[in-house]
């Protein structure tokens, strides 16, 4: 009764939308505390990356940056192998994204704009392949690539990344194709366009924004991979950046924590930029098709 007495006058005097967005101070305080806790690891990484190594290793941590410096970034990139491993990452990831996107786009078109027997089965198989544990697929890939001489070189890693990303790429791009109205195709066909012309002149250009978004998802998945590269690439000159980063602690001087955090910042940077640009699509894209976690 009390509640009703409080609510009723409000509902008549304040427009509905305003009232629903009423700010709740208790919630604001919780939100601020949440932000402090959730941002702290990122802050600590950045703070350490800009602090000289000697100051970072202090038994009483300082929560504000002291002796702000860029030296750690110089140390990180001049560390043996950074540019070489960056190049490896770039070659392998870009090649895998290219294959997965081109091949995946054709398959996505077939699975969305055409109806044929077995289509449902193919879709279910794609979803199941998508969910196979990465450590499970790793063993037979290792054996097959070992037997065919593709272990430790680009080709093997590219193929492994295509396997990691292709099912997901097909699934997500299929969603973008499905969003296009069927009338588009029908109108073009009435005008005498062949199936191939409908695809290349009408559907592909329209689905391009979705293809770009999917390329970015694919890029992130391959860029972040540690497991496959760590297992396949035994030679340091063939490492990709995640393996480089994780093995940062090996030099004679022991772990250079500031350098390692600077390296982590550099490695994370492209991914963070992509996430900020694609935030909205990530939410819908990931829940629709799922990225390997």
């Amino acid at each position: 009764m009390n509640q009703r007495a409080k609510t009723k006058p409000v509902s008549t005097s304040v427009p509905r939308s305003r009232r629903l967005k009423k700010i709740n101070w208790g919630s604001s305080v919780i939100a601020i505390v949440f932000c402090v806790i959730w941002f702290f690891p990122t802050y600590w990484m950045l703070k350490t990356a800009f602090t000289p190594r000697a100051d970072a290793l202090s038994t009483t941590p300082s929560f504000l940056p002291v002796n702000f410096t860029f030296d750690n970034f110089v140390t990180a990139v001049t560390q043996s192998g950074f540019f070489l491993n960056l190049r490896n990452s770039a070659i392998v990831v870009l090649a895998a994204v290219l294959v997965a996107i081109v091949v995946g786009m054709l398959a996505a078109a077939a699975l969305s704009r055409f109806r044929f027997r077995g289509r449902r089965t193919i879709l279910v198989v794609i979803l199941i392949l998508q969910m196979i544990p990465p450590t499970a697929l790793l063993i037979p890939q290792f054996l097959v690539f070992n037997a065919t001489g593709m272990l430790g070189n680009y080709i093997g890693l590219i193929l492994a990344y295509v396997a990691l990303t292709l099912p997901f790429a097909i699934w997500v791009m299929r969603g973008f194709f499905l969003a296009l109205p069927a009338e588009l195709e029908e109108a073009a066909q009435l005008d005498g366009a062949s199936s191939w012309q409908v695809l290349t002149r009408i559907l592909f250009p329209l689905v391009l924004p979705g293809v770009i978004a999917t390329s970015v998802f694919t890029f992130i998945t391959a860029w972040n991979d540690y497991l496959v590269a760590y297992t396949f690439m035994r030679d340091q000159t063939m490492y990709t950046l995640p393996v480089w980063l994780a093995s940062f602690s090996s030099p004679v001087t022991g772990t250079d924590i500031s350098g390692q955090m600077a390296g982590s910042v550099l490695f994370s940077l492209p991914v963070v930029v992509f996430f900020i640009l694609l935030q909205r699509k990530l939410v819908s894209g990931m829940s629709a098709g799922a990225v390997k976690g």
């Binding site: 509640q3 009703r4 609510t7 509902s11 629903l20 967005k21 700010i23 604001s28 939100a31 949440f34 932000c35 959730w38 941002f39 690891p41 990484m45 970072a56 038994t59 941590p61 294959v99 091949v103 054709l106 078109a109 055409f114 044929f116 449902r120 879709l123 979803l127 969910m131 544990p133 990465p134 450590t135 499970a136 697929l137 063993i139 037979p140 037997a147 193929l159 492994a160 295509v162 292709l166 099912p167 066909q189 009435l190 199936s195 695809l199 972040n224 297992t231 994780a246 955090m261 982590s264 490695f267 994370s268 991914v271 996430f275 900020i276 935030q279 939410v283 829940s287 799922a290 976690g293």
Partner: protein, 307 residues
């Protein structure tokens, strides 16, 4: 233009076209996924080991590997550990995620943007980088987390605590790491659904005298159920497969105490080089996960996905 109006020839053309479009992906998937899966199942019936990698020689051993795995107490320990850890991760990240989603509906626009940005930062950090940050936060001697806990004083002096050397502490640290990165996806996905709750229902419930928490339980939560179901299943699959974070924080140690099935498979196949045994574990894990995946597919179909 309906199928019946279309000439038989055009229809055959379109079928040929579909097959043509599918074949490159089909060949690639066959080569890099289907063939390896067949190889995996085959290898699980052999005694393939490190020597076989060089000589190519191995023997068929029938179900011996499966028998060895299923009678290995380490496997069962890892199995139970994986289920408990996955449950703890899913529970933690879904509860916090749903809470944060609701929080987002109750705060002002500026603060909401700040929370969203904070979430994206935690989400976007590659898990290799995040694991290294975690090792630093929890480093014995200099870790800021150890320092903070020591200052709070409840647990005594934790300055030199080595989190990865104690199974319970290692799990707690890894749990925090994974939940930290998992909450953003769940919170933002659930929030996207929560903004779709019809205001009329909420207002009607309010007029009937329902309190905020009652409105949330009786109107909002039922509406969110399909979304929460979906993120729960996805989280289960992802958390079941977690490898990097455990490997980089504790290496599955101490003494295999934090080796979930993924890590256990890896150690068996690539550290002990018992590749036959590793394949048997991989087959078992894949079957287990296929069961969870079937729930995911069912939930997708239910949520209106047209397969």
């Amino acid at each position: 233009m309906s199928g019946s109006k279309r000439s038989a020839r055009a229809f055959a053309d379109r079928r040929g076209m579909a097959a043509l479009l599918l074949s490159p992906a089909g060949i690639v998937i066959l080569a890099v996924m289907i063939v390896p899966i067949v190889v995996m199942i085959f290898t699980a019936f052999t005694n393939f080991n490190q020597r076989s990698l060089f000589t190519g020689a191995y023997d068929m051993v029938g179900f011996d590997q499966f028998e060895a795995v299923l009678t290995n107490p380490e496997f069962w320990a890892s199995f139970v550990r994986t289920i408990l850890f996955t449950a703890a991760l899913v529970l933690g990240s879904v509860l916090i995620g749903v809470g944060v989603s609701h929080l987002l509906t109750r705060i002002g626009g500026v603060l909401r943007t700040i929370v969203t940005v904070v979430l994206i930062f935690a989400w976007a950090m590659p898990n290799v980088a995040a694991s290294l940050v975690w090792n630093w936060l929890f480093q014995p001697g200099y870790g800021v987390f150890n320092w903070l806990l020591t200052q709070i004083g409840i647990f005594g002096d934790m300055t030199d605590t080595d989190w990865s050397a104690d199974p319970a502490l290692a799990f707690i640290a890894i749990w925090m790491l994974i939940v930290w990165q998992a909450v953003p996806f769940i919170a933002l996905t659930v929030y996207a659904a929560e903004t779709q709750v019809s205001p009329e229902y909420i207002e009607a419930a309010r007029l009937d005298g329902a309190s905020d928490s009652r409105v949330y339980r009786s109107v909002t939560l039922p509406f969110l159920r399909p979304t929460i179901m979906l993120v729960t299943i996805l989280s289960t699959i992802w958390n079941f497969n977690i490898f990097n974070q455990i490997w980089l924080v504790s290496h599955g140690g101490p003494n295999g105490a934090t080796a979930t099935l993924g890590v256990f498979t890896y150690i068996t196949a690539f550290v002990s080089f018992d590749i036959g045994g590793g394949s048997a574990i991989a087959v078992i894990t894949t079957v287990l996960l296929a069961v969870v995946t079937s729930f995911y597919i069912r939930s997708l179909v239910r949520s209106g996905e047209d397969l």
